[in-house]
Structures are given as structure tokens and as C-alpha cells.
């Protein structure tokens, strides 16, 4: 039996909604079959007011053990480091977070806001938001780079806007069933099992990428979204085309460019004018290359690809 508490700071509940879409295991399975004891959750918890505050105090004091602390949303520091713009159960949420992280066996940051700061931390970051242990690419965040939970691990980061339900449930189950040795983390403390491969891995448009055949506009039945429409699939770490969304699809399969939302820089270019759904180029060459490819290699590759492209690649392929 593992006690789990889930709280939200500067959040939209997107990760909660995503989590509730889970199957194999479903949210109810976690409780009924995997021995996760959900002490409280903002959308699911029964207690309100003083009854909840008592529970929180007991967790902070250690009277009730807190095995897993899941945090969704940013840590809000405004105004002036007080955190008063995000108050919860009678005090700034950031104060609860500091206390609960000290008491927790494991701390799991779910979604971009809790991992890197996400949308709320987009310039000018009005709420002075941070992720738990990162702000964008910068290690440290709210808890500081040396933070480890009682079990000796740093914050386990499950990024994404939102995170996929399977990413959440698999990590929670691993922690609850004593399989943390199987969780290897990358430099951004993301579980490698999900974030070693790329969004492009398994994309149905890979052949078009290979032959440099571009989807030049939305709503087309062919082409790769990388060349014109700003898709970040080749340089984004995620399993979105291996572990499909809602058991059906992924953004790129549906014709939407990947926004790179599992990476610390999301939203890229701070959404500056001209950067949304448009590939950023210098002299016709994409500013951001597929991961690990240099400019020279890219030019050679795409020239060869264009020369080799078969005629079918220019015709509609995802036909009715």
C-alpha cells in the first residue's frame, strides 16, 4: 500500500484530465488493483476545508507517511517571492510544496509546468513561476539542484503538455511496487524508457521526411510537417508515435506539427510573432536541425533525398 498525494499549483488540470483517460491500468485500477492509496487529489478528493488541512498537516509532520507526492502545475512565487498569488488551504502553495517535498518518499513532477515551468513561465512569466527542480533548461528550480527525496532520488520529471496517462501510471506503479531500480533518468530527470526516442520515431510521415516532401499547408493528405509547418518531431524526445494518444493517434499522424512540448524550452521561441506553426529558417535552412545532424550533413542529405524522391511521394497518400 503506497500513500499518494496529488496537488496542483499554477495548473490547468490538463495532466489530471490526461491521467483520467488512462487504461491498463485505469485510475480506478491503480486504487483497486495496485494498492495506491490516493489520500487526496484536487479533482477526486472527498475532504474539503479543515478536514483536508488536517490531513496536510499530518503528512508534513510525518504522522501519516507520504510515499509519493505528485505535483502538477508551476510553483508560483509572485508577488515578490511570497507565493501569495497562489494560495491553498490557508497559505501559499509553495510553502506546502516545500514542506511536503521534505516529507515525501518520492516526488513526481507531472507535466511541463511542474517540470520546467511550461506555459505560465513563458515570458514575461507574470506569476514568477518555476518548475520543481528546473526552470526551462536551468537546473535548480524551486527545490534547488541538490534536492533529493527521502528515497534518495531527485524529482522524477514526467514532462509533456500534458503528460500522457501511461507515462504517469507506469511511473507511479513502478514506485509503488518497488521497481524504482528500473527507472533510469536522463539529464533532465526524465524516465529514459519514454524520453530516449523521438516524437518522429514511428511517425506515419517518416517516408515524406526521408524524401523531403513537405506538407506545405494544413489539411493536406501527404507530406512531412517539419519542412514548412514548424514540426519539432525530429528534435523532440517523446514516445508520442510509439505509445499513441487516447489509444488512437498522435499530433503528427493527425496532421498537426509537434510543438516539442516534452522539452524544457516549450513553448519554443516564446511564441514570438512569426514563430507559430512556421519552420524557422536561415537562408532556407531550418534553424533547428534534426537532433544531432549538422548543417553540412543536412544539406547533403536533403539534396540527395530530393534527387531520389519517387513520384508517389508527391501524391496524396493518406487517401479516403
Amino acid at each position: 500500500m503506497a500513500n499518494l498525494l496529488w496537488l496542483q499549483g499554477g495548473a490547468c488540470s490538463g495532466n489530471t484530465m490526461s491521467f483520467l483517460n488512462a487504461e491498463e491500468p485505469s485510475a480506478c485500477d491503480l486504487v483497486n488493483d495496485f494498492g495506491i492509496n490516493v489520500l487526496w487529489h484536487p479533482s477526486l478528493g472527498v475532504e474539503l476545508g479543515e478536514n483536508l488541512r488536517k490531513l496536510l498537516r499530518d503528512l508534513v509532520s510525518g504522522a501519516i507517511p507520504l510515499d509519493i507526492f505528485v505535483f502538477e502545475g508551476t510553483v508560483v512565487n509572485a508577488p515578490g517571492g511570497t507565493g501569495e498569488w497562489n494560495r491553498f488551504a490557508g497559505r501559499p502553495m509553495k510553502d506546502w510544496v516545500a514542506d511536503l517535498c521534505k516529507a515525501a518518499g518520492f516526488v513526481v513532477a507531472v507535466g511541463d509546468c511542474a517540470t520546467w515551468g511550461g506555459i505560465p513561465a513563458t515570458a514575461p512569466n507574470p506569476s514568477d513561476s518555476q518548475g520543481l527542480q528546473f526552470l526551462k533548461r536551468e537546473h535548480g528550480g524551486f527545490l534547488g539542484k541538490d534536492f533529493t527525496s527521502k528515497a534518495g532520488l531527485p524529482v522524477i520529471n514526467v514532462p509533456g503538455c500534458p503528460a500522457h496517462p501511461d507515462w504517469i501510471t507506469q511511473i507511479v506503479v513502478a514506485v509503488a511496487t518497488g521497481r524504482t531500480a528500473d527507472i533510469t533518468l536522463d539529464e533532465f530527470q526524465r524516465p529514459k524508457t519514454f524520453f530516449q526516442s523521438f516524437t518522429q520515431t514511428g511517425c506515419t510521415r517518416n517516408m515524406h521526411f526521408a524524401y523531403k516532401v513537405s506538407a506545405t499547408e494544413f489539411g493536406q493528405r501527404k507530406g512531412c510537417l517539419f519542412y514548412d509547418l514548424g514540426c519539432r518531431g525530429p528534435m523532440t524526445h517523446s514516445p508520442c508515435n510509439r505509445i499513441l494518444w487516447n489509444r488512437q493517434s498522435s499530433k503528427t499522424r493527425a496532421g498537426m506539427p509537434c510543438l516539442g512540448c516534452t522539452e524544457p524550452e516549450f513553448p519554443f521561441f516564446d511564441l514570438a510573432p512569426g514563430t507559430v506553426f512556421k519552420t524557422q529558417t536561415v537562408m532556407g535552412i531550418p534553424k533547428d536541425m534534426p537532433n544531432g545532424v549538422d548543417k553540412k550533413g543536412y544539406i547533403a542529405l536533403t539534396a540527395a533525398a530530393k534527387n531520389a524522391a519517387p513520384r508517389w511521394a508527391e501524391e496524396d497518400i493518406f487517401v479516403v
Binding site: 474539503l48 505560465p120 511564441l271
Partner: protein, 533 residues
């Protein structure tokens, strides 16, 4: 004669999106005054300033994880009106379908996950329905809870077929949609709908076919349906109806008695050249304001909406301001002062009707009006219930909400039927400067975005969400907001566990994160103070 007033600060009220704190004053066991506080400010409107005109398509769905499709719908239509785009028929259908399936998702998830578990509160132990309520509605283990919460993920599988994932796709764009669905997508979507209908909507919620339920047009029809068969009476709808009456949910939680809907689901043949002015005549579900005090319906349009920040944490003066003229200047030191400012939510007013309630209840009362175009959707059921049950209550608010499920289902079928797969899904627009407005009805009510694009970037972006209407604080005249008003008259059986306050707040399906600047917090005063006055 001085009554003893008990002040109760409830922080947080859980199971609303975001965080809600409520202060109530209780006199002789009944709430006599109330204040709702939204206490999280993320400043999305500030983030959007000077960004790419399309930034709203990425940012605003992330204002709210539950109604991201609704925000996306508003963001796309707002740009369409600003850029004067042409939106192909298929794209209107694909946007509507996304909006509809998100709303369908919310129905069982909200009812079981956020609302019905309170029926298992010890407060109701004396009800003859209590044991059955625990069996069905207990969190995680209840028979209906587990089925309802799990199946709630199904409808949004259709969203993923269109947009790749739910939540947080941005597949709706000015000029149409990004996707171009195929036969596979449409067939799967049908099958997912059928699954949802067969395994929950008909079998568990209604206890009858959609066709039988659709015959209900009045209070008497509903009563006849209830008595017609044990399957109806024992369905979750029948059971909830009976238990609600038994524990008195029809006796409180009414609110302001005036209602707003922007209307939604533009007809695929009537809004291909979208304009702000042309929207009302193009909608399947008509807009409107229903004034329950004088029983009148009028159309609603965006120029009537005004925001007031007298009691909110913004340094923008005390006048009513149209969102196009707002500046969103957050107060640095957001100290709670119930006589002054105490919330991040603004007080939204209609320039003629004042404070209005938004939500499915409002939509259904509007649907009962004869205003608007003759072809638009009309449904007298909830309005008839309203009149015959002596006006609004929290019980009727729930019935109205769940009543929509069947209509949403039919509209989803309509979209799938009407897709013409070989016709266009997108017409590339020309970007330009201008003002735009986009609206829809999120499951929890009226949502709209105003955008002003100048010099190729966002000059001003303003959002008024359904919960902004509902959870707003007092306005410049000191008039309570709809939830504050609905709380007045609520009986509190046990001040140490004021579940009734939770019922009322949750009956609005409050979404404080959607108000874009909201989270309830408290000042940490001790919980219950007594003062003799």
C-alpha cells in the same frame, strides 16, 4: 433580536477545477451571506501580449485542461473573424465535433468524479437511498463511479482522431482545421460513440433508449417516464432524481435567476464566412439571455458583456469595462479584504440584465425560448421543469446538465454523417491586423475570447470564461455573484464538514483555472469565529 452569526471559511473547496475558497455566514443553520474567492493568478492574457497572432491557439487551451477544446474553438473563431477567413464546411463540422466530444467526456467524469461522491457523505445516512448511493457512487470503488470515470475517456478518443490527442491539441486554426480525416477515422469515431451509448449512456444513465428519452418534453413527461419502468426509476438518472428530492437538493442552490448562453455549434452551411455580427443567425444552439424573474428571452451578443474589478485584485478602477478596453493590471499585494478586493475573478455584468449564471442549466433555459431563428434548436423540457418546480435549484441544475448528453450525442452523429471526406478541410487565410471575437459553450458554460491584432502581433487578448460569470465577486453595486447568491439559503447540517457548500459550488462545475486568474485562498484566519451581532 440579535441572531448568532457563525462565519465559516472553507479553504479549499475541492473537486472544482483550480481552487475555490468560500466564506459563508451562517445564521441558525442557514447560509445568510457568502463570498467566493478565486486565488490563482497565472496571467495568460499578459503572456499573450505582443506574441504571434496564433499564440492563442497554443496557449489558451492550456488555460484549462478540461475545456481546452472550447478555448481552442474560441481562439480559432476569434482569429477567423479578425482575419476575415473562409472556413470550409468540413472544418466547421470537425471543430464542432471536437467541442462536442470534449463535452461528452465531461458528463460522466463530472457527474461521478466531481459531484455524486458527495451523496455518500455521512450527512445522508438517514436517507433510504444512502446504501445504494454508496454502492454506486463511492470514489474509485462505486459501480457507476468506476464505469463512468473510466468510460469518460472514450469520447475524447474521437478528438484524438481529429487533433492527435486530448487534452491540448491545436488542430483548429484560422481557415479551418489541420486534419483531413479518412474513412478509417470516421468509422472508428462511430464505433466509439456507439460503445459510449451502449455501455453507459443507455444502459447505466438512462435505463432506456435515446429515442424513448427524447420523447420527454415536459415535467409531466419526465414523471411518466420515471413511473413507466423500474429500469427508468433505477437508472442512475432515475435514482439520482429520487434521492435528490429525498435529501432536499431541490430546495436550495438556486442563484440569481438570470441566465446567459453565447450559443454554439455554428451550422456547417451558415458560417463559412465568419463575422462577429453574423454569428447569432448561424448557430444550431441559439444564444440568449433568459430572465427568470420576468420570463423573457433575448439574444445575446458580445457588446453586452462588461467586466468590473471593484472587488477583484486588479488596479483598473471601479467602472464597468468592455473586455476590448481592459488592460489586466494585477494587484501586486493581493490581501483578502471582504469589504474590498477578495478574488482574482472579475465581476461580469450584462449591461441590461446585470449578473447572469452561465452553464448547461442556462443553455437549456435559453433553449426553451422562441427567440432566434425558426430552424434553430428548441427544447422546452428544462424550462418547463423550472416553472413547475418553482424556479431554480441545485437539483434542477444537475438534471439540466445531464439532459444535454443525449443532444450532444445526436450532434456528434450529425457531424460524422455530414463530413464529405474529399472536400477541403482548410483554406489558407491571409494574416492581417484587426479585432476578432470567438465564442462557444464549454460544457460548464459561456466562453469567449476577444483578440486585437496590431502590427502583426497580439495587442490585447481577453477571455471571459463561464466561471468568470459564475464565481465573480460582488460588483460595483455590491451585488453578489451567481455562486455567492446560490449559496445563500443553503442549509448546513455540520459546520465542521459543510458538504452542502460543496454541492452548490460543484453544481456549477466551477473552473477557477478557466477564469484565467483564479484560485481560492484564504487568509488563514481560524476556521469558525462566532460573533454576536
Amino acid at each position: 433580536m440579535s441572531a448568532q452569526i457563525q462565519t465559516l471559511d472553507i479553504s479549499p473547496v475541492g473537486r472544482v477545477e483550480g481552487d475555490l475558497d468560500v466564506r459563508v455566514e451562517i445564521t441558525n443553520g442557514i447560509v445568510t451571506n457568502a463570498w467566493t474567492q478565486a486565488e490563482l493568478f497565472r496571467g495568460f492574457e499578459i503572456i499573450l501580449r505582443d506574441k504571434d497572432p496564433q499564440a492563442g491557439l497554443v496557449v489558451t487551451p492550456r488555460a484549462c485542461g478540461i475545456c481546452g477544446a472550447s478555448h481552442l474553438t474560441c481562439a480559432a473563431w476569434a482569429l477567423d473573424t479578425a482575419w476575415q477567413t473562409e472556413v470550409p464546411r468540413n472544418a466547421i463540422l470537425a471543430r464542432n465535433l471536437g467541442q462536442i466530444v470534449e463535452s461528452l467526456q465531461s458528463q460522466p467524469r463530472y457527474f461521478y468524479g466531481l459531484y455524486a461522491i458527495d451523496l455518500t457523505n455521512k450527512n445522508y445516512r438517514k436517507s433510504k437511498y444512502y446504501e445504494e448511493a454508496v454502492k454506486r457512487f463511492a470514489p474509485f470503488t462505486g459501480t457507476s463511479y468506476e464505469l463512468g470515470v473510466t468510460i469518460s475517456g472514450k469520447p475524447v478518443e474521437i478528438y484524438a482522431l481529429l487533433g492527435g490527442q486530448w487534452p491540448h491539441s491545436s488542430y483548429m486554426v484560422p481557415g479551418g482545421v489541420m486534419c483531413a480525416p479518412t474513412l478509417t477515422d470516421v468509422t472508428r469515431a462511430w464505433s466509439i460513440l456507439e460503445y459510449f451509448k451502449k455501455n453507459w449512456l443507455e444502459s447505466c444513465w438512462l435505463g432506456c433508449t435515446l429515442e424513448r428519452y427524447e420523447q420527454i418534453k415536459s415535467y409531466e413527461d419526465f414523471m411518466a417516464w420515471l413511473d413507466e419502468s423500474p429500469a427508468h426509476a433505477n437508472s442512475d438518472l432515475g435514482f439520482y432524481w429520487r434521492m435528490g428530492l429525498d435529501i432536499g437538493l431541490h430546495k436550495f442552490g438556486g442563484g440569481v435567476g438570470r441566465y446567459i448562453s453565447w450559443g454554439y455549434l455554428p451550422h456547417e452551411d451558415k458560417y463559412q464566412k465568419p463575422t462577429i455580427e453574423g454569428r447569432n443567425a448561424a448557430l444550431i444552439m441559439k444564444s440568449g439571455v433568459y430572465d427568470g424573474k420576468i420570463d423573457t428571452h433575448t439574444l445575446m451578443s458580445q457588446e453586452h458583456a462588461l467586466e468590473n474589478t471593484t472587488h477583484a485584485w486588479y488596479d483598473e478602477g471601479g467602472a464597468d469595462v468592455h473586455p476590448f478596453d481592459r488592460t489586466t493590471r494585477a494587484t501586486q499585494k493581493n490581501t483578502t479584504d471582504f469589504a474590498g478586493a477578495y478574488s482574482w475573478a472579475t465581476a461580469v455584468n450584462h449591461d441590461q440584465y446585470g449578473r447572469l449564471e452561465a452553464g448547461p442549466f442556462a443553455r437549456q433555459l435559453v433553449a426553451g425560448g422562441k427567440h432566434g431563428e425558426a430552424w434553430q434548436h428548441y427544447d422546452p423540457f428544462v424550462l418547463d421543469m423550472y416553472k413547475k418546480m418553482g424556479g431554480p435549484s441545485l437539483h434542477l441544475r444537475q438534471i439540466a446538465r445531464m439532459h444535454e448528453t443525449i443532444k450532444l450525442y445526436r450532434q456528434a452523429e450529425h457531424c460524422l454523417k455530414e463530413f464529405r471526406l474529399n472536400e477541403p478541410w482548410y483554406i489558407k487565410p491571409r494574416e492581417k491586423d484587426g479585432r476578432g471575437w470567438g465564442a462557444t459553450e464549454a460544457i460548464r458554460g459561456a466562453l469567449c475570447h476577444w483578440i486585437e491584432v496590431k502590427d502583426g502581433k497580439i495587442k490585447n487578448y481577453q477571455i471571459v470564461a463561464p466561471t468568470t460569470w459564475n464565481v465573480g465577486p460582488r460588483d460595483s453595486k455590491g451585488i453578489r455573484g451567481p455562486i455567492e447568491e446560490a449559496l445563500v439559503g443553503t442549509p448546513i447540517a455540520d459546520p465542521s464538514d459543510p458538504v452542502e457548500v460543496g454541492h452548490v459550488a460543484r453544481s456549477f462545475d466551477s473552473c477557477l483555472v478557466c477564469t484565467v486568474h483564479a484560485h481560492d485562498g484564504k487568509t488563514g484566519k481560524e476556521l469558525a469565529r462566532f460573533r454576536i451581532g
